[in-house]
């Protein structure tokens, strides 16, 4: 049984001071990840201070490539079914996202995926989702 992806309206991300570069980049199709300037480690979700050492952090462009760490398909969505997932990026951090543009019933943990931005409601910036490679 297949369950082809059908888009749902995605709420625009809440505005928080400090996140502007991420969403501005998203509008130009670029995906940013925060790295620590002190211990050099990436982290997710983006923070002003590194959650491993409290060092200062900077934005770097991410590869947008990853693998599915876990997933769940909500059978009754808004209004369509949708697949929430954790994707582990090539950079080594794992982020919450959705898997899109595919047969949701065929998705597997461990599957390779790549980034695709999806528009959000109103004048919101696009958000990073993923689709099978």
């Amino acid at each position: 049984m297949t369950m082809m992806y059908q888009p749902n309206p995605l709420p625009a991300p809440a505005k928080e001071p400090g996140n502007e570069p991420f969403w501005d980049a998203a509008r130009t199709g670029k995906f940013l990840v925060k790295f620590c300037t002190s211990c050099k480690k990436p982290h997710w979700y983006p923070r002003a201070l590194c959650p491993f050492c409290f060092g200062e952090t900077e934005w770097k462009e991410g590869s947008g490539k990853g693998v599915i760490y876990s997933l769940s398909v909500m059978q009754r969505g808004n209004p369509n079914p949708y697949c929430i997932a954790y994707v582990t990026l090539e950079e080594g951090v794992t982020m919450m996202t959705q898997i899109v543009d595919c047969d949701l019933a065929a998705l597997k943990i461990g599957q390779k995926v790549k980034l695709v931005f999806k528009p959000t409601e109103g004048d919101g910036p696009p958000v990073p989702t993923f689709t099978p490679v």
């Binding site: 995605l10 709420p11 991300p13 928080e16 979700y45 954790y86």
Partner: protein, 389 residues
């Protein structure tokens, strides 16, 4: 300093309502408190410590203390860790009593999610300025799919099956049939669970807890007070608490905070999981139970599926009787938070006051464990070890 043997649970009351459209949330808090005081044989003016969490309306502590007329408070705590808050409250009350900061502490929970039409299928708003929300809310995280991702990873890592998870619900239903207040009293089979509609893969409708109105209250007291009362003595022997999140992006859904909260509680109590005669295990979903059983040390990591199969959690049948009131899966999940009912049923078991059909023989050591928040995102874990004195 340890809280071991420094405090007793002298009152426990589970509000009988499961649907209360005509009661206010504050009223259910107060009725629950009244019930616990009556159970203990104490009165309102005796209370000098009060503990509540986010289900208490308004500024919680301030509004509820005023509403209930708690005018003698010397120690208060509104620790908010979701559904496990109330187990942490027991520990914090015991700490305060051990330190001489209060002698008789009240803990309350109440809510009306059933009347209000809220459930784990919907996004919940916890307010503004939450740092993770911009990077998560657009993707539709709700309660059920957070826990479902934990279940999916467990199945991937360890080969756990839907049928094994179903055994947890089957065991709860065997207990609930004896509880006249339980929302779901019909005994179900593994087939019933796996054939119920999928809600969020791999969890089915019967893998999910009930949505109920209701409330509960506990009274924690100094040993001198406890020994002056007429109720069977239940003492707090150990406690642990832990918080676990996404670890800066090193998400690991294969273990929960119970690993740390359980170890701390067992160390303080000076016992091992093998000594536990009865366990109240938070059961928002079947996977919640499986994860906690492993992380608390009742079985090895990855072997939870095998452990719960074949009725091993059914009182009188298996090795580890759990949630003999029917738990959140069948009985009650007031305020969408089952923590306080976990402690209440453990107290019933230790007093020998559980339903005769599910009462564990010689129940002298019990564990109660809570998971609050979202197991697949960020959650609190709290473990209590209680002993019949």
């Amino acid at each position: 300093m340890t809280i071991r043997d420094k405090a007793y649970i002298v009152g426990a009351y589970e509000h009988p309502t499961r649907k209360a459209p005509d009661k206010s949330v504050a009223q259910i808090h107060a009725e629950s408190a009244k019930g616990a005081l009556a159970d203990a044989g104490l009165s309102l003016s005796d209370i000098d410590g009060y503990y509540c969490a986010g289900d208490a309306p308004g500024l919680g502590m301030l509004n509820m203390a005023d509403y209930m007329g708690l005018t003698n408070l010397r120690h208060v705590d509104s620790t908010e860790t979701g559904g496990c808050s109330y187990l942490i409250h027991v520990s914090h009350a015991a700490q305060a009593i051990a330190a001489g900061k209060c002698k008789i502490a009240l803990i309350t929970l109440a809510g009306r999610p059933r009347s209000a039409g809220s459930s784990g299928m919907q996004a919940r708003s916890w307010g503004v300025d939450i740092p993770d929300v911009p990077f998560e809310a657009p993707f539709g995280p709700v309660t059920v799919n957070s826990y479902a991702m934990v279940a999916a990873r467990h199945m991937y890592e360890y080969g756990t099956t839907a049928e094994q998870l179903a055994w947890i619900k089957v065991a709860a239903s065997h207990h609930a049939q004896h509880n006249p207040h339980a929302m779901l009293r019909d005994v179900v089979t593994v087939e019933d669970v796996v054939n119920s509609p999928l809600v969020s893969t791999p969890l089915h409708r019967l893998d999910c807890c009930v949505v109920s109105d209701g409330g509960g209250a506990l009274i924690v007291a100094h040993p001198d007070i406890a020994k002056s009362l007429k109720r069977p003595l239940v003492k707090v022997r150990g406690a642990g608490e832990a918080i676990k999140g996404q670890l800066g992006g090193h998400v690991d859904l294969t273990y929960s905070g119970a690993r740390r909260s359980g170890a701390a509680a067992f160390e303080e109590a000076g016992i091992t999981p093998q000594d536990i005669k009865y366990a109240s295990i938070y059961d928002s979903f079947t996977i919640t139970v499986l994860m906690q059983l492993e992380d608390l040390g009742f079985c090895k990591k990855g072997e939870g599926g095998k452990f719960v199969s074949d009725g091993n959690l059914i009182s009188g049948v298996g090795k580890l009787p759990f949630n003999t009131d029917g738990g959140g899966l069948c009985n009650n999940h007031p305020a969408n938070r089952g923590g306080i009912t976990k402690v209440i049923e453990a107290v019933r078991q230790l007093r020998g006051e559980a339903h005769p059909a599910v009462q564990v023989k010689n129940c002298d050591l019990a564990l109660a464990h809570g998971t609050g928040g979202l197991l697949g995102a960020r959650h609190g874990s709290a473990t209590l070890i209680l002993e019949r004195a």
